[in-house]
Symmetry: C2
Subunit: 288 residues, 2 copies
């Protein structure tokens, strides 16, 4: 059976770019309106996998993605990292100097703020990056506020993939202000993946309410030479100010040192939830 | 001289509620368009202090607030916690059963999602909670999409304070789906505050890229019996995937155990930045 990979957004989203990086261009994709629908698509078997953005090197973690990882029983099958480049996109024949308004998701607008100001465009908040391109292609090219229609040429800020998919023209490439714009994705699925050459294990846990609880939990990894590549605290729902910790650690749960550390962590923690051991992208960061 | 306290948003914002909790109702407030403007208002001395939201018990940390804490040299003078209650607000004489659209900031809409669905309202994304109330008061009560004006009664979701300030009617109180909705604020100023009865110290630091670096840094607090009440990792700008850690620890920098721990941390870390020691709200959470 052919694999279908779900993602949040409309076609041309950066999530779709992540899917193509992982599976190639001939993959079947399944666009979902929300992250929750992406999870449902997998659990209901309408999709084989789902590509979920979890953090961006500029904006930090995607809160809702981490909430869903906590709530669902899906497993992480792989990680994928996309170098995000924004393009200025318009309908065919549009000249750069005629553009007056640019539409995009607030995060993309913020990431191109200097470019937008330099060109004296007016930024208009749109629900989605790729959606701003799709809506241009549909002929939605006027801007309105409170029922008053202004005329003025509208462009979109989205991926080059979106321009290609919707038959639009790229007026400018790589217009983001900062070059270090990477988004990290988890490929989610129902079953555990094969063990890879280099693996990471992702966990979420809460500590018991006693002094140095986190320090003691991290010690189970540190004293066994197991490197953490990420730790992030988030609020524990319905228990204000009590954090839960999302941790990525090098290694596979089947390997002895990690298996031992996990057993000890389980004994110390308030709860531990396994998100998966999966083949991962090697970075040179071990300082946690 | 009378104290002027800056906040982000328009009058009636939850930040203004935090200011009134701290200073009483007769305080002079100074609304700012952005968090950056709030910081500028203090450094340029147009405002004495600024009230900055840093985390919410449901939504987690306010990313931009933490970025600004990292970039500015202001000091935290106090913390304030607001129990957030959303109200459904409309122009005078509006009946609940006639409301068709509700406008608010996406986060407030999400927090009242069940209430909105139960009442079959259509949610419209607005730039600000208090702004959605103010715009109703200005007579902006029609909803438009792509230049097409729909008729239908519009209500706003904002604070009761906003309803009061703009002379609007409260149709329903405490419409949020989850009761544990608290926002934590830092009161920022130019100088350090007096030492209080119960103090916290907030720091940001990065670790050197070596195994168990974070574990060893946290050990300087844990081994001295100093409780952390928060730890949060965020991406370090221009160094993708290298985290910086925002930490709140019980105690004042002038007290011996903390002073000693800070000296040792400084010796271990890649950098340490002091955000301030300040009188704080005591919670019963010490498990970090």
């Amino acid at each position: 059976m052919r694999e279908v990979v779900a993602f949040q957004g409309v076609q041309g989203a950066y999530s779709e770019q992540a899917i193509r990086q992982q599976f190639g261009d001939s993959v079947d994709v399944y666009p979902c309106p929300s992250f929750g629908d992406l999870i449902d698509a997998i659990t209901s078997r309408r999709a084989t996998y789902g590509m979920l953005p979890v953090e961006n090197s500029l904006a930090g973690s995607v809160s809702q993605a981490y909430e869903l990882l906590m709530d669902s029983d899906l497993r992480i099958r792989a990680e994928e990292i996309v170098h995000v480049h924004h393009a200025l996109i318009a309908t065919s024949g549009t000249k750069l100097e005629d553009v007056k308004y640019v539409r995009s998701h607030p995060q993309a607008l913020a990431q191109c703020d200097k470019y937008i100001k330099r060109n004296r465009f007016e930024a208009i908040t749109w629900y989605d990056t790729a959606g701003s391109a799709r809506d241009l292609a549909k002929g939605n090219v006027t801007h309105s506020t409170n029922g008053t229609a202004h005329t003025g040429v509208v462009a979109a800020i989205a991926s080059e993939l979106a321009a290609e998919l919707y038959g639009l023209e790229i007026l400018a490439r790589e217009i983001e202000d900062l070059p270090f714009n990477y988004t990290r994705f988890f490929l989610l699925g129902y079953d555990d993946p094969e063990k890879g050459e280099y693996n990471k294990t992702s966990l979420v846990f809460a500590v018991r309410n006693q002094p140095s609880a986190l320090y003691d939990c991290l010690g189970e990894f540190a004293t066994r030479g197991l490197n953490l590549t990420k730790i992030e605290s988030r609020p524990r729902r319905n228990r204000p100010w009590e954090p839960i910790f999302f941790v990525d650690v090098e290694g596979h749960w089947q390997d002895a040192p990690l298996a031992e550390a996990l057993g000890r962590l389980l004994q110390r923690a308030s709860f531990v939830k396994m998100l998966g051991s999966y083949p991962a992208v090697k970075t040179n960061w071990v300082g946690i």
